[in-house]
C-alpha cells in the first residue's frame, strides 16, 4: 500500500497564492463563527489558572531558601536569586532509613517491574480469552472485568497479612515476604491490582486482530505459543505501549500501595514526599524542589509520548 502524494503543479506565484487562499479560508470562517472574543478570553483565563500553580512551584524551587521564605515567587524580578541548592538539599532530606535520592531510585526500581510483569501476564490471559475456546469463557471474562469494582482499600490489609505471615486463612503456605525488606511484595501487589483492567483492555485489542491472520499461522503449523509470540505481541505493540505508559504513571504516582507495602528502606518518592510534607511542611524551598523532582519523570513521559499517554490514561481512568 502506498499513500497518495499530492503532485507539485508547475504554477506561478500568483496562482499559488490564490490557491492557498482558497485552501484555508474555509476553516478560518468556521473558526470566526464559533469562537467569540469572550470565549477566547475565558479559555486563556482557564489555561493560565491551570498552569500558574505548577509554574509557581517550578520558579520557587530555584530560589534561595531565604527568599522563598520571605517573598512571593511572583516578585522574582524584584528579588532576584537563582540556585540549585534546594535540589541538593532535598535529595539528602528524608528519614533515618532513606533520603529522597534513594527514594527516587526506589521509585524506578518499583515502577519498571511493576509495569512489565502485569503487562505480560495480562496479555497471556487476554490471548486465552480472545483466541482459545473453552467452557465458561464468557462467565470467567465477565468475572475478571467485574473485579475492577473492588477498590484497592478492600484488599490492602488482608493482602499485607498474606505477605507478612505467608498464610491463607490461617494455613501457612509460604515464608514471610516482608522480613528481607525487598521490593518483592510491592511488585506483586501492583501486579495483582493491575490485572483486571489490563486483561480487559488488552482483550479488546487482541480480539481485534483479523481471524484470517491467526488461521493462516495455524495452517502453517504454529501452536498457541508461536502465535502469541510472533503475531499477537508485534501486532498489539501500540496498545501494549499505551497500557504500559498508563501503568507506569499509575505506579509512579501511587501513594496508597506504597504506604502499605513499601516501608522503610524501599519507600518510593511519593511516600517520602508525603512524609516530608508532614514533618517539614513549612520548608517550601525543599518541598517545591522535591515535588518538582517527582513530577519531572511523568512530565517527560507526557511530553515525549503524548499520543500513547492520552490513550492510556483515558482507558484506565477508573482504576484504583
Amino acid at each position: 500500500m502506498s499513500a497518495v502524494v499530492p503532485v507539485e503543479l508547475p504554477i506561478d506565484a500568483d496562482t499559488e497564492k490564490q490557491l492557498r487562499r482558497g485552501e484555508d479560508s474555509a476553516p478560518r470562517r468556521t473558526k470566526r463563527r464559533l469562537t467569540s472574543r469572550g470565549a477566547t478570553i475565558a479559555a486563556l483565563l482557564i489555561a493560565v489558572l491551570w498552569t500558574v500553580p505548577t509554574f509557581g512551584l517550578f520558579v520557587s524551587s530555584f530560589r534561595p531558601a531565604q527568599q522563598v521564605r520571605t517573598t512571593g515567587w511572583w516578585t522574582i524580578f524584584e528579588n532576584w536569586g537563582f540556585t540549585f541548592d534546594n535540589y541538593g538539599e532535598v535529595l539528602k532530606a528524608g528519614n533515618s532509613q532513606i533520603d529522597l535520592a534513594g527514594a527516587f531510585i526506589n521509585s524506578i526500581a518499583i515502577t519498571l517491574p511493576a509495569t512489565l510483569i502485569p503487562l505480560m501476564i495480562a496479555s497471556l490471559a487476554a490471548y486465552a480469552f480472545a483466541w482459545i475456546d473453552f467452557r465458561g469463557k464468557d462467565i470467567m471474562f465477565i468475572a475478571v472485568f467485574a473485579l475492577q469494582i473492588v477498590p484497592i482499600q478492600m484488599v490492602l490489609v488482608p493482602l499485607l497479612q498474606y505477605f507478612s505471615r505467608g498464610e491463607l486463612f490461617g494455613f501457612p503456605v509460604v515464608e514471610s515476604l516482608t522480613e528481607g525488606g525487598g521490593y518483592a511484595q510491592v511488585w506483586i501487589a501492583h501486579t495483582m491490582f493491575a490485572l483486571p483492567l489490563a486483561i480487559f483492555l488488552l482483550h479488546n485489542f487482541v480480539s481485534e486482530i483479523p481471524r484470517e491472520v491467526i488461521e493462516a499461522a495455524r495452517v502453517d503449523g504454529a501452536g498457541h505459543g508461536q502465535i502469541f509470540f510472533r503475531i499477537i505481541i508485534p501486532l498489539t505493540m501500540p496498545s501494549l505501549a499505551a497500557f504500559a505508559i498508563f501503568q507506569f504513571l499509575w505506579v509512579w504516582n501511587d501513594l496508597l500501595v506504597a504506604l502499605v507495602f513499601a516501608d522503610g528502606a524501599v519507600a518510593p518518592m511519593t511516600k517520602l514526599l508525603a512524609e516530608i510534607t508532614g514533618t517539614r511542611g513549612q520548608d517550601w524551598h525543599l518541598l517545591t524542589a522535591g515535588a518538582f523532582i517527582s513530577i519531572l519523570v511523568p512530565l517527560i513521559v507526557f511530553f515525549a509520548l503524548q499520543r500513547y499517554f492520552v490513550r492510556g490514561l483515558l482507558a484506565g481512568s477508573t482504576k484504583g
Binding site: W50, E175, G223, G225, L273, S317
Partner: protein, 377 residues
C-alpha cells in the same frame, strides 16, 4: 523469606530491576515454549508434560519461599492436573495450554483480589483485633460517631462537587478552544496536571494556599490575591467547613483535563449538519449549545461524570498529603488507612466495605455507559 528474594533484596536497587525482569521473561518464555509443544502427540511430549506439571509448581513454590509440605502438595496437584489434561476430551495438552495462558492471572487475581475482599468483609464484622464476631457494630459506629459521620459526609461533598465542577470547567474549555488556533497547545496546558501525582499536586496547592501573618509578605499566591484586594490572609486549610472545598479544588484541577479531552472529542463528533441546521433556524450560540451540542454528547458527559465520581469517592492521596484528615477534612479512604494504622482492623475494614458499597453502583453504571458508547460508535 525465600533465598531468591533475600539474595535479590541484597543487591543494589537498580541491579534488581533487570534481574527480576529477566527471570520473569525466562518464566514467560518457558510457558510459551511448553504451551507450543504441549498439543503434540508422542511419548516424549507426554513425559515432558508430566515433568512440567509436577516440577513446575514445585519449583515456583520453592522460589517464592514455601515450606516443603506445601510444595509437595502443589506437586501432587500438578500430577492430578496432568491426568485431567491427559484424559481431556479436546485431546491431551488442551488444558495444559489453557492453564499456561490463564493460570498466572487467575492465581494472582484469586490471591490478590478475591480472597482478600472476602476476608475484609468478614473482618468488618469482627472486633479491632479480628478475633471476636461483633455483627454490625463497626458499621453502627461509623454512622453514629460524630467524627465518622463527618468523614462520610465529607466524602459525599467530594462526590457532589468535584465531578460537576470539573465536568463544567472541562466542557466550557473544550467548547471555547474548539477549532481555535493552537487548540493542541491549549489542550496540553490543561491536560498536564493529569500526569502529576496527587502527592505532587497536593504540594503545589499547599504552596498556593500558604498563609503568612498579615504584617509579613505573603508567599502563597491565593493569600497574596486576598491581600491585594484588601483582605486579611486566611489559613485556607484550617477554616472549617470550607477547607474541604479547598481540597476538592486540587482534584478538580487534576480531573478537568480528563473531562476536557473526552468532551472535546465528543464535540467534534456532533454532526455539522445539525449545528448548521440550527443556525439556519436563527438560534444563537447558547441555544445551539444547549439544544444541539449537549444532547449530542450526552453519553460522553455521563461517562465523564461517573468516572470522576469514582475518583472522588476513592480520593486518598490529596487528603493524606494536604491535611492528613485534620480539621475535619477526613474522607472514607483516608479514615480506612488511619484506623488501620491505629490497629482498629474491624473499623478499617468496615470503612473499606462502605467505600465498596458506595462505589459499586457508580462503577456498574459507568461500565454500562462505556459499553453503550462503544456500540454507538
Amino acid at each position: 523469606m525465600s533465598a531468591f528474594f533475600t539474595w535479590l533484596a541484597g543487591l543494589p536497587p537498580l541491579a534488581q530491576v533487570p534481574i527480576v525482569i529477566l527471570v520473569f521473561a525466562v518464566v514467560v518464555a518457558a510457558i510459551l515454549f511448553f504451551v507450543e509443544i504441549a498439543p503434540r502427540s508422542g511419548r516424549i511430549y507426554t513425559i515432558i508434560r508430566l515433568a512440567v506439571c509436577i516440577l513446575g509448581p514445585l519449583a515456583i513454590l520453592l522460589i517464592v519461599g514455601s515450606y516443603w509440605w506445601a510444595a509437595a502438595a502443589a506437586a501432587v496437584l500438578g500430577g492430578v492436573f496432568f491426568l485431567l489434561d491427559y484424559r481431556s476430551k479436546q485431546g491431551a495438552g488442551y488444558l495444559f495450554q489453557l492453564f499456561g495462558f490463564l493460570g498466572p492471572a487467575v492465581l494472582l487475581l484469586t490471591l490478590g483480589l478475591i480472597l482478600p475482599s472476602i476476608q475484609t468483609i468478614v473482618q468488618s464484622m469482627m472486633n479491632s483485633r479480628g478475633e471476636r464476631f461483633v455483627g454490625f457494630e463497626n458499621f453502627i459506629w461509623i454512622f453514629t460517631q460524630p467524627e465518622a459521620i463527618r468523614t462520610v459526609g465529607n466524602t459525599i461533598i467530594w462526590v457532589l462537587v468535584a465531578p460537576i465542577v470539573s465536568t463544567i470547567a472541562g466542557l466550557a474549555y473544550a467548547v471555547f478552544i474548539d477549532k481555535s488556533r493552537g487548540e493542541k497547545y491549549f489542550k496540553i496546558l490543561v491536560f498536564m496536571p493529569m500526569a502529576i501525582s496527587f502527592v505532587g499536586a497536593s504540594i503545589i496547592w499547599r504552596f498556593v494556599y500558604t498563609a503568612r501573618p498579615a504584617e509579613q509578605n505573603q508567599i502563597g499566591l491565593l493569600n497574596q490575591v486576598v491581600v491585594w484586594f484588601g483582605g486579611e490572609p486566611v489559613s485556607f486549610l484550617a477554616v472549617e467547613p470550607w477547607n474541604t472545598f479547598f481540597l476538592i479544588v486540587v482534584l478538580i484541577w487534576v480531573q478537568t483535563g480528563f473531562a476536557m479531552v473526552i468532551l472535546s472529542a465528543a464535540i467534534k463528533g456532533v454532526p455539522t449538519e445539525q449545528v448548521e441546521a440550527a443556525e439556519l433556524d436563527g438560534t444563537n450560540g447558547w441555544q445551539r449549545f444547549t439544544n444541539v451540542t449537549v444532547p449530542g454528547i450526552r453519553s460522553s458527559l455521563i461517562v465523564v461524570l461517573t468516572t470522576i465520581s469514582i475518583a472522588s469517592l476513592k480520593v486518598f492521596d490529596i487528603v493524606r498529603t494536604m491535611t492528613a484528615g485534620a480539621n475535619d477534612t477526613s474522607v472514607i479512604a483516608n479514615e480506612m488507612y488511619t484506623q488501620f494504622k491505629n490497629f482498629e482492623q474491624g473499623r478499617s475494614a468496615a470503612f473499606a466495605v462502605v467505600l465498596f458499597l458506595l462505589v459499586l453502583p457508580i462503577v456498574v453504571y459507568n461500565a454500562r455507559q462505556i459499553k453503550k458508547q462503544r456500540e454507538i460508535r
